[in-house]
């Protein structure tokens, strides 16, 4: 029973990270119809910036670590947000609605970003000082305090995102565009502006995931890619463009991996998740909770 | 005389709503049958059901005596049934000539015969002068006619026209109507046409089926339908 609980606990905490990361991706897909192959690189950006602020440059070493971490988060988000805004303006805005071109250009961007990280930080994994030290025991399973904090923050993020999407004008505008671009424009919604900010929100989410997770694991130029693949699995299973689907599928993947790795091995768990993706695309392409586009 | 097309209790649900509800009608060979109704009546859905683009929830469709329920469009075309589309659906990377030629690509005719057929159709549809134009440069009315041309190149027995006259101006409509008439007389093709343009419908059709809210409301000659009270009510005093 203890094993079972531990596995569930593992599933929940990895699931939470997946969810934050994938929320951004599903948003980008739903609103802009782009499959953002460079999404992982923004995650890595968040992680590396945190590393820079806290460990390499020790910018906030004189302050309380929680505050330092919070400040690192804020600055990282700001920087990534600005870069994202510029990237959308110069590169992606040209390819709205053209899935193939958008995909290709995102791939190119991902190559460029990965190499920049490689050149700046080398391939050696970096450690970031953890913020919440120690472990706790919950319901018979043990979990590091860092991970508990991540889970709570992830939950807050998800709730925050959902509120933004459902309650704010911005969120409603994004939803309108994702359902019917022309109708939305007829209603006076500024497609270009909303899309640009939507992109920023999406990649900021990815970077946030990076900031959150980095103290609990290592950072190297390639961590984004592994997350990207998981994120694709999640948004397909959950339904591209669907936030509740993303949450559901994120935790589902956490469970598959947690149990799959324990009872079989990681290759099996990965293969299983990809096969599930293929089945989902065939039987129900709109995902568990997506809308039928036909 | 056996009908060339028969729809029998054709039904299709979307969610809980019946977009098409137990619709039955027959199409006689050589006639032009109109399918009309207010917006949302289920005309396009019925078309999609008959032409293999949507699956039926229940009911059956027969073509030339054969049960073609839920058979895919490519199968139906081999049986000589073809449909056109409400929007300008064309092969945009190809010229007008090549578009029509695509309709012949699968049949067994010799190259020379195919070329003659294509030229003949282009002339028939008044598209000869633009045969080398790329389709996106064409005015809307010609694009609509081209859509019909592509369909005709498959040498069908039954032609389903989905709102062919939308977006056309008066001149284009008159021309289109006379061409459609000639289709029946010169080429012996049976036609089912969904249209909103009442004048054209009354002019062209031998018989008309009226749909409303997914159900068949009336069926008969243009005269009969025009004077049918329920039809008049459905259109809220129209026609």
């Amino acid at each position: 029973m203890d094993t079972f609980v531990q596995l569930i606990v593992n599933a929940l905490q990895s699931g939470a990270i997946y969810v934050i990361f994938s929320l951004g991706l599903t948003l980008l897909f739903g609103v802009m119809k782009i499959v953002n192959f460079a999404h992982g690189e923004f995650y890595t950006a968040g992680a590396f910036l945190t590393y820079l602020f806290i460990d390499k440059w020790g910018l906030f070493s004189s302050i309380n670590i929680y505050v330092a971490y919070f400040l690192a988060f804020v600055f990282a988000i700001l920087i990534v947000g600005i870069v994202g805004y510029l990237v959308e303006m110069t590169i992606f805005s040209r390819f709205h609605g053209d899935m193939v071109s958008g995909l290709i250009v995102a791939i190119g961007l991902s190559m460029v970003m990965q190499t920049i990280y490689l050149l700046m930080f080398t391939a050696n994994p970096k450690n970031i000082t953890s913020i919440f030290k120690g472990t706790s025991h919950l319901f018979g399973g043990s979990i590091s305090n860092e991970r508990i904090a991540i889970f709570i923050l992830a939950l807050l993020f998800t709730v925050g995102m959902t509120l933004i999407i459902k309650k704010t004008k911005f969120g409603k505008a994004m939803r309108a565009i994702s359902q019917d671009k022309e109708a939305a424009e007829l209603q006076g919604i500024d497609y270009k502006s909303i899309t640009r900010w939507g992109f920023v929100v999406g990649i900021v989410l990815a970077a946030s995931a990076g900031v959150l997770v980095s103290p609990a694991s290592v950072v190297d130029p390639y961590i984004g890619e592994a997350y990207l693949m998981k994120a694709f699995i999640i948004i397909i299973l959950g339904g591209m463009g669907s936030i509740p689907g993303c949450i559901l599928a994120g935790f589902l993947l956490g469970i598959i991996e947690s149990f799959g790795i324990f009872y079989f091995d990681i290759a099996f768990a990965t293969a299983l998740s990809f096969i599930l993706v293929m089945l989902m695309l065939l039987i129900r392409p709109q995902g568990l909770m997506g809308h039928v586009s036909r | 005389m056996k009908p060339i097309l028969e729809a029998k209790d054709v039904t299709r649900y979307f969610g809980g709503v019946a977009a098409v509800n137990n619709v039955s009608f027959q199409v006689r060979e050589g006639e032009i049958l109109g399918l009309i109704g207010p917006n949302g009546a289920g005309k396009s859905t019925t078309f999609n059901l008959i032409s293999g683009f949507y699956q039926l929830s229940s009911g059956a469709v027969y073509f030339d005596g054969e049960n073609i329920t839920n058979k895919p469009p490519e199968y139906l075309n081999k049986k000589s049934l073809v449909r056109t589309f409400q929007h300008n659906v064309l092969f945009n990377e190809m010229t007008v000539y090549e578009n029509v030629f695509m309709g012949t690509v699968l049949n067994k005719m010799k190259q020379k015969e195919k070329e003659e057929l294509v030229l003949e159709l282009l002339t028939f549809l008044n598209l000869l002068h633009v045969k080398d134009e790329v389709t996106k440069n064409l005015p809307h009315g010609l694009q609509r006619m081209l859509g019909i041309g592509v369909a005709l190149a498959t040498q069908p027995k039954l032609l389903l026209l989905d709102e062919p006259l939308t977006g056309m101006n008066m001149v284009e409509i008159n021309e289109a109507v006379s061409i459609l008439n000639k289709l029946r007389t010169e080429k012996n093709i049976t036609i089912v046409i969904v249209e909103h343009n009442m004048k054209a419908v009354m002019e062209l059709c031998d018989r008309i089926v009226v749909l409303s809210y997914g159900k068949k409301l009336a069926e008969g000659t243009p005269e009969e339908v025009r004077n049918n009270e329920e039809v008049i009510r459905a259109y809220l005093g129209g026609s």
Binding site: V100, Q114, M229, A267, L281, L282 | L90, M94, V134
Partner: protein, 315 residues
């Protein structure tokens, strides 16, 4: 094809074959063979794009061919020429199974599905039959099967490229393009889009499987990491940068980018950086690729997959 063009391509073919037979330096010969095999990969990738789909599992079929050939010649003592054809056939068979299922969806759904499949195949190479397939480290010690192997590669490459060219110009090519332009319209005039999409995939995979066999035998070592979706993406970049609207575009992309990569080889990671930048810049400023841009600048006259030029439409 005009007479002048014919002669030109004939001369190029002869030169290519000559290279194949005359190159002695192992490094140059290997580079040459790589260009040949990548050209096949790129042209066949574009062939599938004719029907409007992007297949990120393309490199996986290349890998299936390579692994089949290596395993057959090393573990089962099958003569190379038999293994060569069997590799193509096996790749083709797997592609039928994949296509029959995967083409039930299209566009980005198909793309992601092919991406997932590519990962499944990679995991397969890594974890299945490790005594034959070699697991993570793959298979080493594959031998060159004949004296003038590079000449063989040159000839096979040219044969394959000519075949693809004539297929594209044939009825099949037109049908694929029609499907890309409008699947609905194509189906309404009797074209089974599923059948033809699978056909294009099978043809491409057959040829790519055979080129995988050649790769295994001039590279001497293969591993699962050689055949991932990353390679498919690199091939995609060859096609896009070279020009996706022309038959010769992918080949231009291959030659240019592989040579640039070789030049940058000493600079390590700058290679990937250059690829990435090239892709972004090409998409922003040269969306039609090199071939397309040269064509619109009227520097060369090429046969485009798009509408025939006026002179060809004379009836």
């Amino acid at each position: 094809m005009s007479q002048g063009n014919n002669i030109r391509w004939l001369i190029v073919s002869v030169i290519v074959i000559a290279f194949g037979f005359m190159l002695n330096d192992p490094y140059l010969a290997h580079l040459f063979a790589l260009l040949c095999v990548y050209s096949i990969l790129a042209v066949s990738f574009r062939f599938i794009m004719l029907c409007g789909e992007i297949n990120l599992a393309h490199a996986s079929f290349f890998g299936i061919g390579a692994y089949t050939s290596a395993a057959l010649t090393i573990h089962f003592n099958v003569p190379f020429i038999v293994a060569f054809f069997v590799s193509g056939i096996i790749a083709a068979i797997v592609s039928i199974l994949f296509g029959a299922i995967a083409f039930r969806v299209k566009g980005h759904f198909f793309l992601l599905l092919s991406f997932a499949f590519a990962e499944v195949i990679r995991l397969f190479f890594q974890n299945a039959w490790t005594d034959v397939l070699g697991g993570v480290t793959g298979i080493a010690g594959i031998t060159s099967p004949m004296g003038e192997f590079y000449g063989f590669i040159a000839i096979v490459t040219l044969l394959i490229l000519y075949t693809m060219y004539f297929l594209e110009k044939s009825k099949l090519g037109k049908i694929l393009i029609a499907i890309r332009n409008s699947e609905d319209l194509s189906r309404s005039i009797g074209i089974s889009s599923m059948k033809y999409k699978v056909l294009s995939l099978v043809v491409a995979s057959l040829l790519v499987g055979m080129s995988g066999s050649m790769f295994a035998h001039f590279n001497f070592v293969i591993s699962p990491e050689d055949f991932t979706f990353h390679l498919s993406i690199i091939i995609l970049s060859f096609v896009i940068i070279g020009g996706r609207d022309h038959f010769i575009g992918p080949v231009i992309g291959v030659v240019l980018l592989v040579l640039v990569a070789e030049y940058l080889r000493g600079f390590g990671s700058y290679e990937i950086l250059a690829y990435g930048l090239a892709i972004i810049l090409a998409m922003l400023f040269m969306p039609k690729g090199i071939a397309g841009t040269l064509q619109s600048l009227r520097l060369i006259k090429l046969k485009s997959s798009k509408s025939k030029s006026r002179e060809e439409a004379k009836v």
